[in-house]
Symmetry: none
Subunit: 539 residues, 2 copies
Amino acid sequence: MSKSISIFDTTLRDGTQGEGISLSADDKLKIAKKLDDLGVQYIEGGIPGSNTKDIEFFKRVQELGLNAKITAFGSTRRKGTVASQDANLQRILESGCQAATLVGKAWDFHVHTALQTTLEENLAMIYDSIAYLKQQGQEVIFDAEHFFDGYKNNTEYAISVVRKAQEAGADWITMCDTNGGTLPHEVHEIVSSLTSMIPQAHFSIHTHNDCELAVANTLSAVQAGARQVQGTINGYGERCGNANLCSIIPSLELKMGYQTIGTDKLMQLTSTARFVSEIANVNMPVNQPYVGNAAFAHKGGIHVSAILRDSRTYEHIVPELVGNKQRVLVSELAGQSNIVSKAKDMGLELDSTSEHSRKVIDKIKDLEHQGYQFEAADASLELLLREANGEMKELFSFESFKMLVEKTAGRAVVSEAFVKLNVAGNMVYTAAEGNGPVNALDNALRKALVQYFPDLKEMHLSDYKVRVLDEKDATAAKVRVLIESRNISNSWNTVGVSENVIEASWEALVDSMRYALMGKIMQGNEEGEDTTHRGLVNH
Amino acid sequence: MSKSISIFDTTLRDGTQGEGISLSADDKLKIAKKLDDLGVQYIEGGIPGSNTKDIEFFKRVQELGLNAKITAFGSTRRKGTVASQDANLQRILESGCQAATLVGKAWDFHVHTALQTTLEENLAMIYDSIAYLKQQGQEVIFDAEHFFDGYKNNTEYAISVVRKAQEAGADWITMCDTNGGTLPHEVHEIVSSLTSMIPQAHFSIHTHNDCELAVANTLSAVQAGARQVQGTINGYGERCGNANLCSIIPSLELKMGYQTIGTDKLMQLTSTARFVSEIANVNMPVNQPYVGNAAFAHKGGIHVSAILRDSRTYEHIVPELVGNKQRVLVSELAGQSNIVSKAKDMGLELDSTSEHSRKVIDKIKDLEHQGYQFEAADASLELLLREANGEMKELFSFESFKMLVEKTAGRAVVSEAFVKLNVAGNMVYTAAEGNGPVNALDNALRKALVQYFPDLKEMHLSDYKVRVLDEKDATAAKVRVLIESRNISNSWNTVGVSENVIEASWEALVDSMRYALMGKIMQGNEEGEDTTHRGLVNH
């Protein structure tokens, strides 16, 4: 049996059914380009004619000259009509797509309840629609909706749906676990029986994650003979999401001996996943398998000393195979080996035997003891290490801030911040309002700095977390603030700790901007440009 | 073969290895209580003696009188030593736990690389440690670390490790997929061969999610004969996390015919998952299977009309079976039964058919839509419900507050609050300082009220949590503050939501004091004392 699996991406169609996911035509085009670079074989773009975004997408995607087959989605003809006069089928033909996905019912219950027609008419709708598109020269993928539930409820009818699609000439027949309730051993059993019953058909698998089994169900179907996999990047999709291609592809390639996009392209997987998450504006879970930021992160001291000896001790694959990398988290549980290896990542040599290095390590451990946590604040740690290494010269120094929040009955709350800084010898005193105290501080700090460092305009805060460290003391306890900032190409994390949430936020905000400026200047130096601020960082 | 599976929760031990997860002793105790309510059989609390939090946890958890077996984790004795003199084993015995988990190496590569000892010594370490704890009357669960990698690399040695543990008297032998790289069909094959080879042993399964297969691997092991499942709530854990009990338990109970916590307790699953996520201060992915906010959310128009006809069309189970509910996105039509049942808990009858009750329910649903969450703020919900029921007459009304935070270089930060209230007809205007802005507000509010209600002296804030609701907007996003307050006999939780963290904190603080006063007065009435304030609550 062939060891080649074709990858059918439906991020742009089924993926957009996920809560909070909404993509413009531009977004869709950018993602299509990225998916094509990754080497997927099919890109399902949407439902032609259903809305202006999809109309624009199908028009403009032709100009990109992609290798993948652009695929348009639609339903079989309506009950009691003629396929050649069906408006939806017509729109698919006019979309310029290279393949069409037609969805039809495979569960008798749905035929009665949702379609409200007879089982015979449903078979005719499937046959007519596929046959018509085939006559027009289209490649047709038939999605048998609720195939597994149908098979369990009325096996004979579910099989007759598949046979009908096959007779009509469907190039691929997709077994859909639409409700996501099927278990891997059931998938294996049903797909095995189907592939042996109709060996001449090409089967595809489409699963949902309602039992956290979409990936397993997909792999199970492949082992039972499916040769196409439908899924989405990061598993986006309705309810609990679709099958996550970012987990399926590497397991097929690296662990099961199948050829999908090839091992060269596989190295783009992590950057593709992160790109799509940025465009979709959805935070990627840090613990996402294979491509997440913590997928190869190590926290425990014993684990860290073992991976430093041999990374296979606690890593199931070499992270670089999927374009990810190992990270050592610095945490109170860990020894100094973590800090040394972290410094190494930044190109800094910390020799744990030298007195200087010991001082740095002691300082970091002391800060951790005070409540700082650097595992989620790489940028603050880097600032500390570079500072200790004599690489940092400050671009501005702090004079004072004031923050006022005022609320009167019946009126909206008002937040104002007043910031005084010394920026490269100039005293800057400015004020700003905000939606809340931290926003007001951010606005005032930015306002004070942006006239000197216009590049700060490009960065923004993307996440803000607050943690109370010693709950027993509640409002008088220490507070840790973690801030994530982003610009177009990077994100970085900073930390602040204080008994005062405003002071902790200020500290993390200042670190965030210091880091943004450090990156700018270092980059400037490398490129030999932007020498205005040269020398401010002693490198 | 028995259809009963024991659930072993390791949220408090392996779960805390997850990036960004850090639990205080108080947090751990709260979660242990909740897990016990859910009905899990084992609660692994931590590593006795490894740090002050775990020392405190094992001491205080005894006082809770839980049904679950509290379990302590540790390694087998060090190489070349005697078990009875091993400090770690001694700490386990002294912890007062009801069961001990001992971890040992099952992969020859790890014995050489990480332990740096001989295969024979490793077997002796395992045998001696288990035998010693058994002699002391402990129940022992032996975690065979990297069992699957070990089995694949050196089958004979991995099996000899299991046999050794069994000979030493281990009550359970856990097959760990420590690196998370094993596939479900491999798990099935290996576990089947092991259970038939050593039928007298009781096997447990412990998987990690590095291939997004931890749930599937666990189910696969159960089908092959494992009778205990180790996992964490929400799948917290190192790298990509541990096996997610919130997905495993319902599939075992509802789809595979196994008995775990029972179908009654299963209805607490969603609230348990959300409670743990709140305590751990980690946002729950909306698309989390079974318990996520979008797990039964419907967006597509066609899907929505079908589920309104019959929810089985697009739902694999009835959401209420796991304590979740259907949501229709855009037009909120979701279930009011939760609110009705909560009111009933408080002795209030809410009849969902009356117009009054509908208004109350609509108000609460509207607040939830704005970001309030009453799951962890019972006191605020009770205030709302009693208010709607005409039982509340306010003891004070708000006029204004101001809050000032000031920081000058080289000086300590200063926080001051100014509060103006109308207390029983008297205008009170007062000011106070604090360690931070919330502490200053708390001090000023308390100062204004305590002269009229001296019993407020007895209460204090015991926990304060802040959650940013929409990270995309960072510092301009909505913020939810949860406050826990205590007096000598009770604790209660309140919530506030605003774009402004200070305003949200104020709201939760005010609710906390209102609730404290309501409790006081009601108690006073019952006892026929303290009639001074009688009539202030219209009961």
